[in-house]
Assembly symmetry: C2
Homo-oligomer: 228 residues x 2
DNA sequence: AGATGAGAGTAGACAATGTCAACATCGTGA
DNA sequence: TCACGATGTTGACATTGTCTACTCTCATCT
């Protein structure tokens, strides 16, 4: 039972904040190894607890990964929000959001893939609520910029405009999403020119959106499914 | 295909075409379970061989998945090519390609994610050559439609136009890629309206591309990295 | 204060998996 | 014919996710 390594200091029986420690360890390992195939036991080792301690905080590995994913969403939403600060032009704000989005994905591909890669949830077992809300808060930032006139004219955030806004977001989001993943997979490049590259796609898309803004509406929802 | 073990017939010691059998089993399991977390042993069981037989054909699980992914690329390229047949208008051909692309992804998300999800290769260990070439052949189909005038005017496939073409493909591809993954993850929907939805995004993008076609060029490559 | 009970951590066990090594079986070319 | 290489098989091992049963700690109730 003598597990103390140091001289007299002994780790208290209870960790104190294992939940957080495990999630942070997971984020570390994920960032380092760029893979979700680490073991719960490894995390337990890093946290200095027994291999089964994490199970007091997460039902299974899936749930742990969901928690990590949620942190990823929060980080991303925060970055996107931060990027818009001190920017007046709505179009510039939307562009900044896009840059933050792509940048976040490129900087930590494994986390990005965990968030959007469908390891969690599909149509079957919906992803945990904590994730949904995090993803939803991301959308809000985009909505704001668009309503403020990022596409060339004000679009009041009213029920009547819902479909227009969602249509625009759909295009915006899928373009950024696709670009991010292509970059991450090194399927387009070169990686040195990522910013230049994104900028071209981004501006082109914004112009395209501005041009066809009244015709976009299709029956669409964007973000977490509404009927739930 | 006499695989029967019925009464007295005994399976010959050697399978005959285990390589193919394993890949097909993997495709089956992948399609059914929509997860890459099946075991090699399971595939071996399905093929009716010992748990270690697959190792005579694949160095490890990664290599097996790479082979599956390659098949996926071939299937997708074929569908895209088929979709363009009997279509005269280049723009219609490009639209058909896009539909085939999105459709392929939505119909088998797990396979699509395996192909593009970066489970294999990153910038570190490049993905197997077999995959690269398959992915590259996909690009060729798109190039053709664009050069033929899908964006409103002919763009001869010359070295001088490389950047314009690659720029257009980048936008096209990332838009389709992103849309596919958003649909697959049920992050946008509703799923019943997938076609209508895709159509809106698609046409909007094509119009946008047509409008800014001369200004697109950025220093870009699309497809497998050229310096290799 | 002392009992107690729930939350948090530990220890041990189990089946399944990826992978290694040693052996068996077949078709084939020298 | 016969040895050899490709293909399959068996057995073994460390690791993993997860279950069950146990222990420790501390706040709360009497």
């Amino acid at each position: 039972m003598t597990k103390d390594i140091s001289t007299t200091e002994q780790r208290p029986y209870h960790h104190g904040d294992l939940h957080r420690a495990i999630v942070e360890a997971a984020l570390d390992v994920l960032s380092e190894s760029q893979s979700t195939e680490f073991s719960l036991r490894e995390l337990a080792r890093r946290a200095g607890v027994s291999h089964n301690a994490p199970y007091k905080h997460f039902a299974d590995k899936r749930e742990l990964l969901a928690a990590v994913s949620a942190v990823g969403f929060e980080l991303l939403a925060k970055r996107m929000a931060d990027a818009t600060k001190e920017l007046d032009s709505p179009r510039e704000r939307l562009a900044a959001i896009a840059r933050a989005y792509v940048c976040g994905g490129v900087n930590n591909p494994a986390l990005y893939r965990l968030m959007f890669g469908g390891y969690l949830g599909g149509q079957d077992n919906g992803r945990p609520a904590i994730e949904r809300t995090a993803a939803y808060s991301m959308k809000a930032v985009v909505v704001e910029a668009i309503c403020d006139g990022a596409l060339g004219r004000l679009i009041p955030n009213t029920a009547a405009n819902t479909r227009t806004i969602d249509g625009a977001i759909l295009i915006f989001w899928s373009q950024m999403h696709g670009l991010t993943l292509l970059l991450v997979d090194s399927l387009v490049g070169p990686s040195g020119k990522i910013e230049e590259l994104s900028e071209g796609v981004l501006q082109g898309m914004l112009d395209g959106l501005s041009n066809c803004i009244p015709e976009i509406p299709v029956g669409v929802w964007v973000g977490p499914p509404p009927a739930e």
